[in-house]
Symmetry: C2
Subunit: 279 residues, 2 copies
Amino acid sequence: MSIKNVSGNKVFGGWHKQYSHDSSTLNCAMQFAIYLPPQVASGAKVPVLYWLSGLTCTDENFMQKAGAMRMAAELGIAIVAPDTSPRGDDVANDDGYDLGQGAGFYVNATEAPWNKHYHMYDYIVNELPELIEANFPVTDKRAISGHSMGGHGALVIGMHNPERYTSMSAFSPICNPINVPWGQKALTAYLGTNKETWEAYDASELMRKATNFLPVKVDQGGADNFLEEQLTPEALKQAAEASGYPLELNIHEGYDHSYYFISSFIDEHLRFHAEHLAK
Amino acid sequence: MSIKNVSGNKVFGGWHKQYSHDSSTLNCAMQFAIYLPPQVASGAKVPVLYWLSGLTCTDENFMQKAGAMRMAAELGIAIVAPDTSPRGDDVANDDGYDLGQGAGFYVNATEAPWNKHYHMYDYIVNELPELIEANFPVTDKRAISGHSMGGHGALVIGMHNPERYTSMSAFSPICNPINVPWGQKALTAYLGTNKETWEAYDASELMRKATNFLPVKVDQGGADNFLEEQLTPEALKQAAEASGYPLELNIHEGYDHSYYFISSFIDEHLRFHAEHLAK
């Protein structure tokens, strides 16, 4: 459980830091970033928002581009941003940006060659929080959010583990991966061709069958290039209606798939999670 | 004076857009970014903050990493971020990150081969504002700010043109380039070995001799790796004391040279400029 500090930057009175560690879940070295708000300097323990990034991202994209730390500092929330897949020369990869390194899809792969390292679901749910809670001044209150592939991850992980998170949210999530090209490509590679195994990683399937409701907020840009082919929020909306899941889904006219969209609404997500983390 | 739209993203109710144009001052194609706040959608003309970036940057770094658009939207200020040098295969360059493309130092070069394209001073003072004011719903109220090499540029340009700007500010500026390695290398290349010609581009020299005072705010990280060797804010402070220039200089303990520092204090700079732009 040892972690090694890689970098540190003072931001809004707190600290953004990067750490590396050897992951026993992923069988490789991993890097993550954490923002510790100024409240920890006076001995406070703070709750944690886990942020899952989208395709091609590392631990850096969210921390550099989302503009989240101002509000995290104000609210006293730590943010943890892991990488989006196992990494390294020994780790299986693919030429596409949407499979392999940078595209772990937050699943536990069962198919070779991916099953040797690609266990991002277990990493996010178990190993990473254990590491964070052992090494930083944080409470065991957790929220989870993410963007695109990471929005898919946040919703799937939140719905499978309502006892571990106070709330979940997503920007532009892949809502129904079993029925769109990104999801079908990744799930075929990681889980094989039996589509029944895919459903455990499909937010719309999970939401349709859910009986235990976690507070959830989803924001989607109306001018997102991936909206109709890959993201399909309508599927999530219909699933929520079927089960009575109290989904807050907002479509924002004119906004696209970029971090400019995330930055415009990240404060609302932080306030949403702060409210539930405080309960 | 024709400009070509390259990209657009809705952000905080306004628009971040990138444009390319053929610069007659720099003799090459250039790209700039502009943030237009939501007020322009209802027909308002807004004042403009020009942001000059540091070494190695393009028009993108500030827009992606500074977190400035939230407050610009609130205050109704446009932000223009130009590139940091002329660009292209035909433009002279150097192997170092601190000379040539990405390192124009906001001077008018007089020495070959640099004098063919490197006229960033004239580009920022004249051509770019003319282009912006001809093509966008902006007033002729201008403020100027920047970081590191761009902080040097903002202070030098502001002090030479107090009638063209309402206010100037800088993060971590190169305060006294004629006496530090970054400045000496660039000024020797661009202006030649006669050091008297360098003084026109030295903020501390200009501030020491100034009689016409522009509102000015400078913020510097106390843990900045470049503080003592390259930035030397003490020189600027002494110059201000000599001339009575009302310099507001703040050293922030623990902060470094990165955009994490800029993001932590950019709101204060925007409010500072908004106050003066409104006069």
